[in-house]
Symmetry: C2
Subunit: 420 residues, 2 copies
């Protein structure tokens, strides 16, 4: 939208088109016309069963039913109810006890947590850095508060983590500004399903340590862990958190964006938290203060019912174990879909970005919009990104996962979309 | 906080002290120590019964119980589910059908709606205008996105609406900037309980029309109607909305911040909406686009369950009538408290800002902090504002309302606080 009538642009590029929600609307139209079973709706960032129904953890559903009206209706404190903030630590760290000072502040979902990280650890006009395969709202969140997003190439041409690209981007940005916020969506990266390895993290932290040798610089590294509980075995996919809790430079702060949306299947209740880890408790206390101010001045307090639900789960080992069992069944279903898709892609000669686990698989291609449009004609709806197509295996039946890769390959061939 | 370690100040004054939540914590400490009946907790912006329990509309509580897990758990669209946006219009306008183009976008409570109004209808560095008796978070919301708050004297010395003060402030601000956002909290103003009359509104709109004669200026007038349903008779206290729907200059947009917190006693579920009215549908369409962008880039979508509840109520006339009957009983209880407080104040010679209805009564005084501290020693907790003390009759029993004014008068006398 180049011209505004009454509203102010405020350094934002507002097209009015959100690719994820637009694709989702297209899928709904097709379903209304042809019926659910005739449409591959691969747009939804939520885990659906093979009939297309939202999968809700039974323990969570039961807790919802048990809540009293007052537990829904009362205001929570701005930073979140204390039991929730305690529960968030358990949900994030599990058995691990960080050495650093840790603080947490509630937020509406992961989005609110990311927003508060950007607001409080960068300044207006600055660049925020993330990978070139990225969840598009990162840019929206940056622009909404007059920052912008820069990207580094996540992968080398042979699809390994591209540390030199990150290093160059960090150096480039810090030559222009004194602060850097680096957002890393891992494990089970949205949109590719790649998980940064412990070795990748060692490299990343080495780059950041080097940058931090210049004490005029301040760096925040934000792990967006929205999909962590659908990456695989809980402890294994949390090992990187120990590195963020390591003996890091004083001018480096570790941030974690936690969300109940996927991990507890409470997408629509909008509850998450931003956490920090830093060896200096004063830095953690400052974090709590500035993030509370941001909450008060943006959405006030956050939704109370999901906070109570998480508090109940994390304070009751038997209940927590029951939930984890349920979640492992959900995970298993998701893994089977992912395996089916990957195997079918190999058979069809369809090149994928390196998927390991999670909700999404990405297909590199030269003209994602053309390919998505072509597939839409065949009642296959997925989200075109800047660098490829995003397929949500979370919202596709396993049957579709077997057949989709060949159809996508054909569409890429038809639209001369390339595929690497 | 003058110095930051790792966080960025970003033009905000972050003291870490929120007067409302601090007072509320003090009250909780006293209650834990002395018991509920020994403490006058007059800090809470929620309607409590005479035993200090949150009052929840029975119809709303029943609807909560009937919701399916999926109705809680599914994502809502960014702008809100369509049925909700339709229901919001009914909840705001009741039987009235605006002539203007109207749009609405969901927000987390009234706070999110106000935030989106400021973000989209002012620019960084600009002043936002409201009355000098104001809900303190207005300033927080402004500062969080690098605006600041200016105030005009709400009342003349004899406690009438001070139109000349508004007029002077509008002229002054528009001599410095080309945009103006004016926030008016009415009816049943927080913190005084004053309702702008239709004549007050005629004066305000006349001032704004005059200012709009300069077509290089753009003005947005935002009615924060959080307390509208506890002001009194529904249609009467909505009559001013017709004026905001009048034949207004093209460079004037009417905005309305709606909240389910008080009107539907769903404080902790964080659901509201920002509405606009403008004769040009293109201006309304632009509003929808920019506010949706803001939502996507701040909190993503909003909580779905309260949207469904409002949709159910507003699409079922019998249910709506039942709820209104329940709410009128709540209102009656609140009115009795207000009347008791006003009568006791008169008897005690305590001067009040002109209260008519609503959750709060304000007592002008010279040193609100000293008076609040003095009263705290007597286990009476209220919120010190810049210009006086705020008493929440919503959270006090009627018995307390009879005795509190004399105690407050004595505290003001003891602290030489003045009272006018």
């Amino acid at each position: 939208m180049a011209d505004f009538i009454m509203a102010q642009g405020n350094a934002r590029t507002i097209t009015g088109v959100d690719k994820i929600f637009t694709a989702s609307s297209k899928a709904k139209e097709l379903i209304a016309r042809y019926g659910k079973e005739k449409v591959a709706n691969s747009t939804i960032g939520a885990l659906l069963d093979d009939r297309g129904e939202l999968m809700i953890l039974p323990t969570v559903a039961e807790l919802l039913k048990e809540l009293s009206p007052a537990e829904f209706a009362e205001y929570a404190p701005i930073a979140g109810i204390p039991e929730y903030l305690e529960a968030v630590r358990t949900a994030v760290f599990e058995s691990y006890r960080p050495q650093s000072a840790v603080e947490a502040v509630a937020s509406p979902g992961g989005t609110g947590a990311i927003r508060n990280a950007i607001e409080n650890y960068t300044r207006r006009g600055e660049l925020v850095l993330t990978a070139d395969w990225f969840w598009a709202p990162y840019r929206t969140i940056c622009q909404e508060i007059e920052r912008d997003l820069a990207t580094f190439a996540l992968f080398t041409p042979d699809f390994r983590f591209n540390l030199p690209a990150l290093e160059a981007a960090v150096r480039e940005i810090l030559s222009k500004q004194d602060r850097l916020l680096l957002i890393l969506n891992t494990p089970a990266h949205n949109p590719t399903g790649y998980t940064l390895t412990d070795e990748d993290w060692d490299g990343i932290l080495s780059v950041l340590r080097t940058a931090c040798a210049d004490k005029t610089k301040q760096i925040a590294v934000l792990a967006d862990i929205a999909y962590m509980d659908f990456a695989g075995e809980a402890e294994r996919f949390r090992s990187f958190l120990r590195k963020l809790d390591g003996d890091l430079p004083s001018n480096l702060i570790s941030l974690i964006a936690f969300s109940m949306s996927k991990s507890f299947t409470l997408y629509g209740m909008r509850c998450g938290a931003l956490l920090c880890m830093h060896k200096d408790p004063a830095v953690a206390a400052e974090f709590k203060k500035v993030c509370s101010f941001s909450g008060r001045g943006t959405w006030s307090n956050c939704s109370r019912a999901p906070m109570i639900i998480l508090s109940r789960i994390c304070s009751d080992p038997a209940l927590k174990q029951k939930l984890e069992q349920e979640r492992s069944e959900f995970l298993h279903l998701l893994q089977k879909r992912g395996q089916a898709f990957v195997a079918a892609a190999e058979e069809a000669g369809l090149c994928l970005a390196p998927y390991q686990s999670g909700f999404f698989i990405s297909i590199p291609c030269a003209d994602p919009d053309a390919a998505a449009e072509h597939l839409h004609q065949e009642r296959i709806v997925l989200v075109p990104l800047a660098k490829g197509l995003r397929v949500s295996v979370a919202s596709l039946s396993e049957a579709w996962c077997h057949v989709l890769p060949a159809r996508i390959k054909a569409a890429l061939d038809a639209t001369q979309g390339g595929n690497k």
